[in-house]
């Protein structure tokens, strides 16, 4: 009973056991549905076929290279968007005239769906790497700016005032209050946006590409190889999980002051 009190914490061990337990349940349900013959093989491969297909993809078809290409595209576009977007977001949150100047346009641009730009970007940049990076950049850049700006705008006013009474200049307030105060939130924003960047890259690779996880998925569809498709999707999930763990690690090490 005590386990189910609201907001009651669980031990680290119980957390890991429970987290793994769900994956086991998930695979079990999937295995029963497919191996038990409840779902046709044409629509959904069973876990064993998936693992076999994955192995063949990796050993015979150089799928590792596709994975590498996709990761490179996501990171390239995302890092570029973060390097330019975070400083603009901070300036926008800190300085209201800059906010008044940029906010309406950025809000508008944020709603432009990155995937809808794919055909246009193919016309502009061809189907090379530039086009892939641009899709991810467009999808991430405006989101990052806006979310960082909102976070910086909401900085505790009393901390800013305290800094002024200690002699900070306005540049000092940005550098020594606004940035450190919002660094954990900015890390969290980047984690979220990186997750979205993954969906953009797959869309970009589905439409015009000769390599990448998305390219493999679309080829597999033509061959009705659902095992390969699912393997591709699971690879994306696993990479996402790893990047999440990385961000959690960063948070724990650099932003211990924020953890309760």
């Amino acid at each position: 009973m005590a386990l189910f009190r609201p907001l009651e914490p669980v031990s680290q061990r119980a957390r890991i056991v429970l987290g793994i337990a769900f994956f086991i349940v998930f695979f079990a349900v999937w295995a029963v549905a497919t191996l038990g013959g409840y779902v046709s093989k044409t629509f959904l491969a069973d876990p064993i076929t998936m693992v076999k297909d994955g192995w063949i993809l990796l050993t015979k078809f150089g799928f590792a290279h596709d994975i590498g290409m996709t990761v490179w595209r996501v990171l390239g576009g995302f890092v570029l968007a973060a390097i330019i977007g975070v400083p603009i977001g901070i300036l926008m949150g800190a300085y209201k005239p800059i906010e008044a100047f940029l906010e309406p346009f950025v809000s508008f641009a944020r709603y432009l769906p990155a995937s809808a730009f794919v055909p246009l970007l193919i016309l502009w940049a061809g189907i090379g790497e530039t086009q892939k990076l641009l899709v991810i950049f467009i999808g991430s850049f405006f989101q990052i700016i806006l979310m960082v700006a909102v976070s910086v705008s909401n900085t505790r006013r009393d901390l800013v005032e305290a800094a002024y009474t200690l002699g900070s200049t306005s540049a000092g307030v940005v550098r020594r209050v606004l940035i450190p105060a919002n660094a954990p939130d900015i890390a969290e924003i980047l984690r979220l946006v990186l997750g979205w960047a993954w969906t953009y890259v797959i869309v970009a690779e589905l439409i015009g590409s000769s390599s990448g996880i998305g390219h493999m998925i679309i080829e597999s569809q033509a061959l009705l190889a659902t095992g390969q498709i699912i393997f591709g999707i699971i690879v994306i999930g696993v990479i996402g999980l790893i990047s999440d763990l990385f961000f959690k690690f960063v948070n724990r090490h650099f932003f211990a002051w924020r953890l309760s």
């Binding site: 009393d158 009474t165 020594r176």
Partner: protein, 264 residues
């Protein structure tokens, strides 16, 4: 009477403009107050009478609707390190440990690290936080946080120290100890201090002068010198002179508290 005035508050008033059809708030009536160098002034008044407003104007965090504040002959136009401030809410930088919080102002002014280390050690000792230099604010009690905030303001060597009900959220025992600590520092260093409170005993115990404010709109109602000898020990709170002052201030403030209560 001549005095070496450090701060002049001249006809300072503050009206908060109306928002969404509500009438404007007259927080502070035109107020005059001259503060002598090395004095410990307490400002006493009921909740909502404009004490914080007045202090924030002196700090430069708010601008008066009329009038001006002059510090050492220069009119105040904004906040600066010459006026250290300790806030009612806890305003330590949560990402910095005690030592780095105390060093904040010194770092902003580009003081050398050697001098910073020396100064931080000095003020850590003065507020009794030895051994806690590496603690984060969230690891400190409320009293320790406010002691750090006082050290942070003093380490910057301001001309004048402003405190806005710094011990308001503390329990009675801790509050008593903090009063002694702050008074002890003042008795040794004789900084000019303006201390806002709504606690009568606190106002008398530390002050050389108590300013009583009226209920909203705030105005100065009484200006009472406290001649209790220094160094003051906490036992002074039970002396007849203290009781007499307390009785007098209780009368003054009670009338205002009644008015304030009726207004709501």
């Amino acid at each position: 009477m001549t005095m070496d005035a450090i701060l002049r508050i001249e006809q300072v008033s503050r009206i908060f403009p109306s928002v969404s059809k509500r009438p404007p708030v007259r927080a502070l009536e035109p107020t005059d107050l001259t503060i002598a160098r090395n004095d410990f002034i307490t400002i006493l008044g009921p909740s909502g009478c404009g004490k914080s407003t007045l202090l924030r104007i002196v700090a430069g965090l708010d601008t008066p609707t009329n009038g001006r504040v002059v510090l050492d002959g220069r009119a105040i136009t904004g906040p600066g390190p010459d006026r250290g401030m300790v806030f009612q809410s806890y305003t330590l930088f949560p990402w910095l440990n005690v030592a780095d919080n105390i060093a904040f102002g010194l770092r902003e002014r580009g003081v050398s690290e050697a001098i910073i280390r020396e100064t931080v050690a000095e003020y850590v000792a003065k507020v009794g936080l030895r051994g806690f230099e590496n603690h984060l604010p969230k690891q400190l009690s409320g009293g320790m946080q406010q002691r750090t905030a006082i050290a942070r303001a003093l380490a910057n060597n301001p001309e004048i120290l402003l405190l806005d009900e710094p011990f308001g959220a503390l329990d009675n025992q801790t509050r008593g100890l903090m009063q002694e600590l702050l008074l002890g520092i003042w008795e040794r260093e004789r900084k000019t201090v303006i201390f806002v409170t709504h606690d009568i005993e606190e106002a008398i115990f530390m002050a050389s002068r108590v300013i009583v404010m009226t209920a909203r709109p705030g105005r100065i109602k009484a200006d009472i010198a406290v001649d209790l000898p220094h160094p003051r020990h906490y036992t002074v709170k039970t002396s007849p002179e203290f009781s007499a002052l307390k009785a007098r201030l209780t009368e003054e403030i009670r009338a205002e508290a009644v008015l304030a209560a009726e207004a709501h």
